[in-house]
Symmetry: C2
Subunit: 475 residues, 2 copies
């Protein structure tokens, strides 16, 4: 039992840490998991009671909304990651939903394993990207849980807080315990360790949580985390260097183009209908040289689609809010719903191209990003998405021709900026980075496809053919 | 029947207008309403087919998600308003949902009238804030509708597109027609007129829609809209000028304060529980002088609440994305869900204080804003929310004392900036603006409450008392 003076002390210290994380730009994620009736909610309530409510957010993750169900399971967690210098408190998180789905046989053993791996990777990514992640598991014995639930059921004022899941959990206590122990063991890591707390004494729980957060912050500030560059664990697809890609002869006559375009657009349109009904999400990512013809290519794909079922996301430099979060956060916020198609005009690969070359992130950041991106795309395909990545390729002379044309045509001048010319000067540096990117992120589940676009018509037809082929594989 | 050359012409012209609205920073909202099977979806599909998909978004508003249902009915429309220079296309919009709810008696005659008024005001606000709003209603006769539905039902590939509502509509065609005609008449306005189109010939529909959009944009560019400053139509509560507010003697001893605080926090905590179960949303808005004690006041309120049921929103200057939309957009994005409490540390009233005084908006903008805010808050109370607005008042000497203390106390220095001192120099200008604001926005449904905060303890207790009283009125 902690004395009221101890309480006073850690409350003041915790309040002071808000200033520390603000000044340090440290984002902190506190996850409270535990048995039903272990007192998560009230522990959380006491912890934040004396903190400044402008610098934290609390999320109760108990109920998964219908909207959230239409995204990958990590989505609703990822979109809630805090800004630098702020707290996110999660009352319940991935553990509860994933173990429950597994025990209720809503997901298979294999899906369960996949999700655990996703969680391990996701939490490691958070830590590597500067987040402090503090995880608690509140324990009560079978008997104590039973007593608490019965007490809640006694009064009309508290009865509504007991749901079917709580009762089920107490009835299946031993089975649950085994699964929880296993989950905790597997998701325990050096960067994001679990703290198990016996939840018999409420004051004690609050005391331990508060002090763990305080010392966690102090230690994170004193000893900045150094992220390792991990080896890629995924099977890779074969790739070519850009310099080996043949662009000559990849051309179509106007007549061939028109005929094929019409046929392929019709086919894609029908497939879109079927995708929609089968609730399969599709992600089409476009990267390529400036003036390679991404815009026109996207237009030919989009115009075959039902406008109610797709979105095009032009990706510019990140906003201030986006910069203050994990670099994938803004893409979690731009995922398609199940049954929808999302097309990206530039993508998360900015991390290993422009951010790398312009020094917008550290070397460790971009070197880590290959793996982080592979994990992200793995989650998307595990979710059931078709992931198609295009590199739109032209040669340097063709780019010059198109730049010059844009410069000299009044209605096209808006398409060309000084930055384009500056980027052009760095062609060779970019080529090295792109070769590395394609080699390191062409996984078998999400390989790169090169669109030879010296002739834009050829590239458009090839894009449509690949999209159709990939979607068909999935249907 | 339009010829293929006409088609070519308006398609090119429409594509060119995307560049126009981009350059002019004109946001365009296109609303397509109409009878079931009138071909809204396919008309929209043909319209956007040749446009650049990076500069528009299409929203199918048919299905209201469970999440959206927990917000005011205008919410899901408002959060989808386009950025400056972009299009939002709505396939179905307010009309369909509101008339259907009315005919199905899900809302009363009075609620229906309220919603129509809200729609009229909301669309006028959009126009006044620089949006071009183009509304179409696609008509088919009873017989033609029946034929089309029957045809859709014939094939397995199209049958899923017919839902119960469509069948119901055809069965109740005459009743629907009467309601639609009335709705269109009432929501027709100079700024946002309806365009009714006979939808018998698909090509004709596309032709009319495209040309209406083209001429709408041209006319909006040539003749910029001048917004009128409207008279306030709402009943106002009595208010005092700031200079008449007595601050002396509004004090509490430490003992009184502690005793009352404990009692009131307990009471608020119980009420929060009841609010949550009754799904009543609460909006608590704080405005006040720098160093008036808003933060500490908010903390005393928040710490009485269940952390899973409230959020505190600190409002800083708007982001680039927020600046490129209606000034209320960022508050639509920060509303509480039903049953939740949202507390705002500074609010939408920035428009008539800092934005007015620093010239961040035009005179017409801030003069219009009183009415726009009253309408916004009226919608919130119509939705069922408790809206509580606090002005936290101190005198100029007290501010100086607190500024000086902050300046001289190392752990408080972060709270004071050069901007605070600059604002202080404009005290008299602010006072005039605040007096006008309070006088013009103290409606009977959302009056201002002054918290005398020379003694912060007094102000905290008064805030809790008012919150409790206002919530009780609603329960």
């Amino acid at each position: 039992m902690s004395t009221s003076q101890e309480k006073e002390t850690y409350r003041n210290e915790l309040a002071a840490r808000q200033q520390v994380i603000k000044n340090e730009g440290l984002p902190v994620i506190v996850i409270l998991e535990g048995w039903s009736a272990s007192g998560k909610g009230s522990a959380l309530g006491s912890i934040i009671k004396f903190m400044d409510p402008r610098f934290f957010r609390v999320y109760n993750m108990d109920v998964i909304s219908e909207d959230d169900k239409r995204y990958p399971f990590l989505y609703r967690h990822a979109v809630r990651m805090p800004l630098k210098g702020q707290f996110s408190f999660f009352d319940g998180s991935m553990m509860d939903e994933v173990t429950y789905a597994y025990m209720k046989e809503e997901i298979s053993e294999k899906e369960y394993d996949n999700r655990i791996n996703s969680i391990i990777n996701y939490e490691r990514q958070l830590r590597d990207n500067g987040y402090l992640v503090i995880k608690f598991f509140l324990e009560v014995s079978e008997k104590e849980q039973k007593n608490r639930i019965e007490k809640l059921l006694e009064s009309k004022n508290t009865r509504w807080r007991v749901n079917k899941k709580d009762l089920w959990q107490n009835k299946n206590y031993k089975k649950c315990k085994k699964v929880y122990d296993d989950y905790i063991k597997r998701t325990d890591s050096k960067g994001c360790p679990w703290h198990r707390i016996k939840a018999d004494d409420r004051d004690q729980v609050e005391f331990i949580i508060a002090n763990t957060i305080i010392s966690g912050i102090d230690s994170a500030v004193k000893n900045p985390w150094t992220a390792e560059i991990l080896n890629n664990p995924y099977e890779m697809a074969g790739v070519k260097k850009l310099s080996k890609i043949k662009l000559k002869d990849k051309v179509l006559t106007d007549e061939e183009y028109k005929k094929k375009l019409k046929k392929l657009q019709k086919e894609l349109s029908d497939l879109h209908n079927r995708l929609y009904r089968k609730k399969i999400p599709v992600i089409i990512a476009y990267e390529g040289w400036d003036a390679a013809g991404k815009g026109g290519n996207i237009k030919r794909v989009a115009s075959a689609l039902d406008p109610r079922g797709y979105e095009v996301f032009p990706i510019a430099s990140p906003s201030a809010e986006e910069k203050n979060r994990h670099f994938l956060w803004r893409f979690y916020n731009r995922l398609p719903k199940t049954g929808h198609i999302a097309i990206y005009d530039r993508t998360w690969y900015g991390r290993v191209m422009v951010e790398r070359l312009e020094g917008f992130c550290s070397e460790n950041d971009w070197k880590r990003a290959y793996n982080e991106i592979n994990e992200f795309e793995k989650d998307l395909t595990d979710w059931g998405a078709v992931v198609i990545k295009f590199w739109v390729q032209i040669d340097k002379d063709t780019q010059l021709e198109r730049f010059t044309l844009r410069q000299n045509t009044p209605e096209k001048q808006w398409k060309i900026t000084d930055e384009d010319w500056r980027n052009r000067e760095k062609w060779d540096l970019y080529e090295t980075a792109i070769d590395e990117m394609i080699a390191k992120t062409s996984t078998v589940y999400a390989p790169w496809h090169v669109l030879e676009s010296n002739d834009k018509k050829y590239a458009r037809i090839k894009a449509l053919e690949i999209i159709i082929k990939e979607i068909k594989k999935k249907l």
